[in-house]
Amino acid sequence: MFKELDPILHTPLRLAVISLLIGLDEADFGFLKEKTNATAGNLSVQLQKLKEANYVTINKQFKDNYPQTTCKITIEGRQAFENYIEALKSYMKDL
């Protein structure tokens, strides 16, 4: 019996972002952009969707004239990622 994969996470860019954030305390926008090879616009849109699902928090600020956008995974985000992995396992068994 296949478990349903979370549609919020089952897209390449959002899954990549969550997979990165799971191993980090926090990450800045530039880092996520570089590691996912995404465009700034697309990354912003996908981060917004993750934020709306309450999977990440986004903090925008200016520090010493440098704009800073940092992202952090939430407890709900961690739980969703774990559930996604569990669901993925049920698919892998049949491969």
């Binding site: 089952h10 990549a16 997979s19 799971i22 191993g23 980090l24 305390d25 990450a27 800045d28 530039g30």
Partner: protein, 219 residues
């Protein structure tokens, strides 16, 4: 990454594995702080040894260099923090360990200073009564404890980062700590210099080389 069509479960797994690998191997230390402190402590240790054999002026307190070294240390931390806001769990944990080390060193120096101030009148009284010096020097107790405090964060960093040079440096600090319990102040200072070189200076240079190499690859 932006193509959502035909994103299979197999692709998901591959993507997750790749991204986890990025964060696993991502944290690169510049090694600058290790070079700075390794260099400073090595110089201070050697100069203090030279003082004990009258080859360097006794009235110059070389350990004041460690206070001046705090300025470049703050600059290093400030610019490295501005550069990136991405924080790895390893980095956060190790920063806490090294801040604890800094506080411990300050507390240790402070307490030994206080003990010494209390002991001086007692030792002077002993000299007056017995007619000879006791030969007791509180700073001879300082080296073994200092080297243990050097060893702990170095050993932890080497272990956590699987960086064998720093791990070995930590072990050398522990060994030097034991040896320093049997040696005089001059040799103690050489042991401190040896520990700082092997625990911080050499690993720092190696880390910096790795960092520069990695950065030039990314450009």
């Amino acid at each position: 990454m932006e193509n959502q069509e035909n994103f299979s479960e197999k692709d998901s797994l591959k993507l997750i594995t790749n991204m986890l690998q990025v964060t696993k191997n991502g944290y690169l230390d510049t090694g600058r702080a290790a070079i700075l402190w390794g260099g400073i402590i090595t110089i201070c240790g050697i100069l203090t040894y030279l003082k004990t054999i009258d080859m360097f002026p006794k009235n110059i307190d070389v350990w004041m260099l460690t206070i001046f070294a705090l300025i470049p240390q703050f600059i290093i931390v400030y610019y490295e923090n501005i550069k990136t806001k991405t924080k790895y769990f390893d980095e956060k944990f190790l920063n806490t360990v090294w801040v604890t080390f800094g506080i411990s060193m300050f507390a240790l120096q402070f307490s030994f200073g206080v003990f010494q101030a209390k002991l001086i009148p007692i030792l002077q009284e002993y000299k007056q009564l017995s007619g000879h010096s006791s030969g007791f020097q509180i700073w001879s107790f300082f080296t073994p404890i200092t080297l243990i405090i050097y060893a702990i964060p170095t050993f932890i960093t080497g272990w956590v980062k699987k960086f064998k040079h720093m791990f070995i440096g930590g072990i050398i600090c522990f060994v030097c700590s034991i040896i320093s319990a049997y040696t005089n102040l001059g040799i103690d200072m050489l042991l401190i210099a040896l520990s700082a070189t092997t625990a911080w200076l050499i690993p720092g240079i190696l880390l910096n080389r790795k960092y520069v190499k990695q950065k030039s690859k990314n450009v």
